[in-house]
C-alpha cells in the first residue's frame, strides 16, 4: 500500500466517522445509514483481518462511549464484523457493485445482531422485531450509502492515479 493510498484511506475513515455524528443527528430517523460500519468495512478490505479487528474494536469503543450502559457491545460487534469482512474480502468484495452493496448491508445486519445480543437489553420479541424489520432496513440504507461512498472513493482514486 502506497503512502498516498494510506493517507486517502485514513482520510476516508475519518470523514465517515464525522458523517456518522453529523448526518445521522441531522436526519434523526430510526432507519439511517451507519457510517461507522461503512468505515470499518471499507477499511477492513484494505488490511489484514487482525488489523481490521483492532480498527473495529477502537471504532466500537468510540461509539460505545455515548452509550455507557452497553459499553463494549459495539466494540465486540465491530471488531468481529471487521475481521470477518477482511477475511471474506477475496470471496465477496470484487468489482461487482451489487455485491458490494449486499456485502455492506449484510455487514450492518451482522453488526446489529452481535450488538443487540451482546447488549442483552431487548426482550426476545423486541429483538426479533428489531432484527427482522428495523435492522434489514438499516442494512439497506447502509448498503446504499456505502455504495455511494465506494463509488466516490474509487473515482477519486482513479483520478489521482
Amino acid at each position: 500500500m502506497s503512502w498516498l493510498a494510506l493517507v486517502r484511506g485514513i482520510g476516508l475513515f475519518l470523514l465517515l466517522v464525522v458523517l456518522h455524528y453529523t448526518v445521522r443527528p441531522l436526519l434523526g430517523m430510526r432507519v439511517t445509514a451507519d457510517f461507522l460500519v461503512i468505515a470499518v468495512l471499507v477499511t477492513a478490505v484494505q488490511v489484514r483481518p487482525g488489523v481490521a479487528a483492532v480498527i473495529g474494536l477502537l471504532t466500537g469503543v468510540i461509539s460505545d462511549s455515548l452509550t455507557p450502559l452497553s459499553f463494549g457491545a459495539g466494540a465486540l460487534a465491530l471488531s468481529t464484523v471487521g475481521f470477518s469482512a477482511s477475511w471474506l474480502k477475496a470471496a465477496v468484495f470484487g468489482d461487482n457493485v451489487l455485491l458490494q452493496a449486499i456485502f455492506i448491508a449484510a455487514g450492518k445486519w451482522a453488526f446489529d445482531v452481535l450488538y443487540l445480543v451482546a447488549e442483552r437489553r431487548l426482550s426476545f420479541a423486541e429483538l426479533a422485531v428489531q432484527l427482522a424489520f428495523w435492522s434489514p432496513l438499516s442494512g439497506l440504507a447502509t448498503g446504499l450509502a456505502g455504495l455511494v461512498v465506494v463509488a466516490l472513493f474509487r473515482r477519486s482514486a482513479e483520478r489521482t492515479r
Binding site: 441531522l26 487482525g50 460505545d64
Partner: protein, 312 residues
C-alpha cells in the same frame, strides 16, 4: 510461503480473540467503572464529535421549528405595533417572574444527545458536566416535567438515566398530596413500555383517572413538585396491601432535546409553584429556550442562576 500465510492467519485469529475477550471483559465491568471509562473516552477522543453532533441536532431542531417560527412571524405581522410591544413587554415580565426566579437553586440548560436508531435507549448524554456544577443524582427536567437523573458526570458532559430505565425510581405523590408511592417504568412490551407505574399506594387511598402525579421530594434526590404524569388506571397486581396505578408520563424522552439540570438545592426543596400555573410553565419553557440559545455561546460560561439572564 504457505507456512508464513498460516502463521499470519493464526496471528490474526489471536488478535481477534484478544479483541473479543477485551470487549466481553468491558461489558461485564461494574457499572461505575464502565461509566468512568466511557466518560474518559467521551471527554478526550469523542469530545469534538459530541460537539459536532450537538450542533447538528440543534440545526435539525431549528429546521423543524422553521415552519412554526414562520407561522408565528406571520401572525405577529398581522398585529399592530402597540400590541407587539405589549406582547414583548409581557414576555419579558413573564421571563423575569418565571422559572429563574421561582427555582431557588441554580439550573443548567443543556442538550440531550440521543442515539436514535437502536441499542441502549435508557440513557442520554447531556452537554453539561461538573464544570457547570452538575453532580450525580441531579434531576433532569423538561418544560413538561421529569426526564431523568444524572448518573455520571465528566468535565463537560454527563450521562443521564431516563425514566424508561428499569432501575429508575422516584418518590411520587398525587398532586393533591393525598397519596404517596414510588414511580418506576412499566416493564411491559411496547407500546405500554412507555408508561409508568405508581406503586405502593396504600389500599385505603384510591386515585381517579386523570389525577396528576408529581415528585414528592422524599429522599432528597428529586425536588418536590416536578410533574411526572397523570393516572390512567389501576393495575391488578395481586398485592392486597397496596395499589398500583398505570401513569401516562408528561415527557416522552425521545422527544426531548433541550433539558434543564437542576443543581443541588440550597434554599428550598419545593418546585410545585414552578409548574402550578400555565404562566409559570410557559416561563419555564421560555427559560429553557433561552438556555438553548445560550448554548451557542462559548462553552465554559457560568451556570444560569436566578436573577441572571443568559447571554442572548
Amino acid at each position: 510461503m504457505a507456512r508464513a500465510t498460516r502463521s499470519g492467519t493464526r496471528a490474526d485469529a489471536v488478535v481477534l480473540a484478544g479483541c473479543v475477550v477485551l470487549s466481553l471483559l468491558v461489558t461485564i465491568l461494574p457499572a461505575p467503572l464502565r461509566q468512568s471509562v466511557a466518560g474518559a473516552v467521551r471527554e478526550t477522543f469523542v469530545g469534538p464529535l459530541i460537539r459536532l453532533q450537538a450542533q447538528f441536532e440543534r440545526a435539525r431542531g431549528a429546521f423543524i421549528e422553521r415552519d412554526l417560527s414562520a407561522a408565528r412571524l406571520d401572525s405577529l405581522v398581522l398585529r399592530n405595533a402597540d400590541l407587539t410591544d405589549m406582547v414583548r413587554e409581557n414576555d419579558r415580565l413573564r421571563a423575569l417572574l418565571g422559572l429563574g426566579a421561582r427555582v431557588r437553586s441554580a439550573f443548567v440548560p443543556a442538550e440531550a444527545l440521543h442515539r436514535p436508531e437502536m441499542g441502549e435507549a435508557h440513557t442520554v448524554i447531556v452537554t453539561a458536566g461538573h464544570e457547570d456544577g452538575v453532580v450525580e443524582r441531579s434531576a433532569v427536567v423538561a418544560p413538561e416535567g421529569l426526564v431523568g437523573t444524572v448518573i455520571g458526570t465528566e468535565a463537560s458532559t454527563s450521562t443521564a438515566m431516563l425514566w424508561t430505565h428499569p432501575d429508575f425510581r422516584v418518590s411520587a405523590m398525587s398532586a393533591d398530596g393525598s397519596a404517596f408511592g414510588i414511580i418506576g417504568p412499566h416493564l411491559a412490551d411496547a407500546p405500554a413500555r412507555f408508561l409508568l407505574e405508581l406503586r405502593g399506594i396504600p389500599f385505603r387511598d384510591s386515585l381517579p383517572a386523570g389525577m396528576a402525579v408529581v415528585s414528592s421530594g422524599l429522599g432528597s434526590v428529586f425536588p418536590r413538585g416536578i410533574p411526572i404524569g397523570t393516572v390512567l388506571e389501576e393495575l391488578e397486581t395481586g398485592e392486597g396491601w397496596s395499589r398500583t396505578y398505570l401513569v401516562r408520563p408528561m415527557v416522552m424522552p425521545a422527544d426531548v432535546t433541550i433539558v434543564m439540570v437542576l443543581l443541588p438545592m440550597t434554599e428550598r426543596n419545593d418546585l410545585s409553584a414552578v409548574w402550578s400555573s400555565p404562566a409559570s410553565a410557559d416561563s419555564a419553557r421560555q427559560a429553557i429556550r433561552r438556555g438553548a440559545d445560550s448554548l451557542a455561546a462559548p462553552a465554559g460560561g457560568p451556570p444560569v442562576t436566578p436573577g441572571s439572564r443568559p447571554p442572548p
